[in-house]
């Protein structure tokens, strides 16, 4: 395999919370030991229930807050080392958020908004404005009509195009899209998804694509990472995750998608209950409280991500050689 563009190892983020009983320090285990790679030129989708740590992972990748522990390498260099300054890294990794309005400065014309980042990074004003107009055209907004407008004069779909243009203005290599199309109308969402695919080809971008719409994640992603309560449950090629998921949670998640066939409606819910609280996650495998394959060992032993096929890894004791689960392979197979 080629050198990954981004390498994430043992990433942890705990948020302290106020008011623990008897002075106990409680924490939200938002991200709790996450390993993955992002390969140059791919789209990596991230899915999982609300609160499983998708946005926290994205924010850590952006260095918007410090991690509790763990390491993020970009092109094998540590961020903040002499090889890679934080400011240089920030230029390479950009993010688009869900809320198109909140991420734009209401007092700047959209042209100035797009040109702002490059100017901060030392691009002369005239060149930055030129780049902004270029990008406006690229995202399908005629510069002569739109350059001087303010955010409130645009529709939601148009504002999200501006956010995408702004993220691209620094010529990054990675763009993190955190629910970037979720607030858009379905009829507009398709336009923005097409745009994202075109821009990816044109600028040779790498995407990290976070969404709760599993159909869209499947359509956009080469590989998909499924998270559950701050951990990676499974990561692998998009087709494998959706067609032959190995983790019981991934299987339940994909079977929870509403059908499009009125003669074959879903007859039973694949999972019962809600996800547990990340302040006090279940012991052992965090999924054992809702898993139909759980055995005694599942509440005692924590599964590790285990190779289970080409580029496919799963954290389930059923797939972990010698784990003690009755369905597990008996011993480790040499790689």
């Amino acid at each position: 395999m080629t050198q990954p563009l981004l390498t994430v190892r043992g990433l942890v983020k705990h948020f302290p919370i106020a008011g623990g009983l008897f002075g106990q320090k409680k924490v939200v285990r938002a991200v709790d030991g996450v390993d993955f790679d992002v390969i140059d030129g791919e789209t990596l989708g991230i899915v999982g229930e609300s609160g499983c740590g998708k946005s926290t992972t994205a924010r850590l990748l952006m260095h918007l807050m410090p991690q509790t522990s763990g390491e993020i390498l970009f092109d094998a260099a540590k961020v903040g080392s002499p090889d890679l300054s934080l400011s240089e890294y920030r230029r390479q990794v950009q993010m688009v958020f869900q809320d198109s309005y909140a991420s734009l400065n209401p007092r700047l014309t959209i042209e100035s908004s797009i040109a702002f980042g490059p100017q901060v990074h030392g691009v002369p004003q005239r060149e930055a404005i030129e780049r902004a107009r270029d990008l406006l055209a690229k995202v399908g907004l005629e510069p002569s009509r739109f350059a001087g407008r303010y955010p409130h004069e645009l529709s939601g779909g148009q504002r999200q195009r501006i956010n995408i243009a702004r993220a691209l203005a620094l010529r990054p290599r990675i763009v993190i899209l955190d629910e970037a199309v979720s607030a858009l109308d379905k009829s507009v969402e398709a336009q923005v998804l097409n745009l994202l695919m075109d821009l990816k080809d044109e600028f040779k971008l790498t995407y990290i694509f976070i969404s709760h719409d599993l159909h869209v994640v499947r359509y956009m992603s080469d590989r998909v990472m499924v998270m559950y309560l701050g951990k990676v449950a499974e990561i692998g090629p998009s087709e494998a995750i959706f067609e032959t998921p190995l983790h019981p949670y991934s299987a339940a998640l994909t079977r929870s998608m509403p059908t499009m066939d009125p003669d074959n409606r879903t007859m039973a819910a694949p999972l019962s209950g809600d996800p547990p609280n990340p302040i006090d996650p279940p012991s052992g495998c965090r999924f054992h409280t809702r898993c139909s394959f759980a055995e005694g060992v599942c509440s005692q032993r924590e599964p590790v991500l285990t190779a289970a096929g080409a580029f496919h890894h799963v954290a389930c004791l059923r797939s972990e050689p010698g784990s003690g689960h009755t369905m597990a392979p008996s011993s480790a197979i040499a790689a």
Partner: protein
């Protein structure tokens, strides 16, 4: 001919908000009929007038700043003519509503058992003890685990899915004939959403109530609905049995919406067949068909007059001048 009138009968409903600098025409002539025990999904994108239509049925739009025209009848009662006292009895007992955000329906300062019991006593009379027993029965029917204990919970002590179940229990407390559901599963996770959709389907059968379910997700409509009404720019542009809408859509907007979806059989790298442009501005509706500016089949005539519904199948209508061009090959 002796056909009973439909349970819900909305005719030429128009809702205009007059509070701002420009009137906003949110609903522009909606006709809807709902039979007993039937589930109708209203499908449409943001701002198409789905919630305003539901709220009109309960007269929940701000009356001072809203102009409402047309006719709304439920079980033979003229909703727009109800006096304040009658309206209070009508809400909850004839028609009740559940929302995307349970906070709109649940009071944070009372336990759920108390809220449900109070509602029952207020509407139906009877003793508080009987009402409490009914509340327990309701919690069992919406399949809340350990229902006795949960009745003593405050809303914030429950998870999202559980609060949604509690809100449904409250909505069913006075045996309404019609349940209005405004995107009750949109904020939920996929694994919890499907649980709530199945619950609504079961309760609909068990209680024999009629349901109007608002959603912007076609998949959700497929899971719950017998019939679908597709809204665009404050009008119902197509209505029909769920199978026909999915398999033989006839309005260019419905056709475009179904085609633009990322679906599973799609090969990697295929472009989505997106609808160009964006939804209409309700303060500035185009004349004629409101989809005309985005429509591939549009002709000059489409921008001149609003098309009337055209029958295109059994119980299947599309408001379009060019339905002769939209039949599947």
């Amino acid at each position: 001919m002796l056909t009973a009138p439909p349970l819900v009968d909305i005719q030429d409903l128009k809702v205009t908000f007059t509070g701002g600098p420009k009137p906003i025409c949110a609903v522009n002539g909606v006709d809807l009929a709902l039979e007993r025990g039937e589930t109708l999904a209203i499908l449409g994108e943001s701002g198409s007038g789905k919630s305003v239509t539901l709220r009109a049925l309960l007269r929940l739009n701000p009356e001072k700043r809203t102009k409402v025209d047309g006719r709304i009848a439920v079980g033979g009662e003229d909703v727009l003519a109800l006096k304040p006292r009658e309206l209070q009895a009508f809400r909850g007992r004839t028609v009740s509503m559940i929302f995307q955000e349970p906070a709109l329906a649940l009071d944070p300062v009372y336990t759920l058992g108390h809220q449900i019991a109070e509602t029952i006593v207020k509407h139906n009379g009877g003793s508080y003890a009987d009402a409490k027993a009914k509340a327990l029965d309701l919690f069992e029917r919406v399949r809340i685990p350990s229902p006795e204990r949960r009745l003593e919970n405050y809303p914030h002590e429950m998870s999202g899915g559980m609060r949604q179940r509690a809100m449904i229990a409250l909505a069913l407390a006075c045996n309404p004939k019609v349940l209005l559901a405004d995107e009750p599963t949109t904020a939920l996770d996929a694994t919890v959403q499907i649980q709530i959709l199945l619950l609504i389907r079961e309760l609909q059968r068990e209680f024999g109530i009629a349901v109007i379910f608002v959603t912007h997700d076609i998949g959700v409509a497929v899971e719950v609905a017998d019939r679908v009404a597709v809204m665009y720019g404050g009008r119902i542009v197509e209505t029909g049995p769920i199978r026909d809408i999915i398999r033989r859509p006839r309005h260019p907007y419905t056709i475009g919406l179904l085609k633009s979806r990322a679906h599973d059989a799609m090969a990697k790298g295929t472009r989505l067949d997106a609808i160009p442009g964006s939804p209409p501005d309700l303060a500035n509706l185009p004349p004629g068909c409101s989809f005309a500016p985005r429509c591939k089949l549009g002709t000059p005539a489409c921008t001149e007059a609003v098309p009337e519904p055209v029958a295109v199948g059994e119980g299947h209508e599309a408001r379009c001048f060019r339905t002769d061009q939209t039949a599947a090959a």
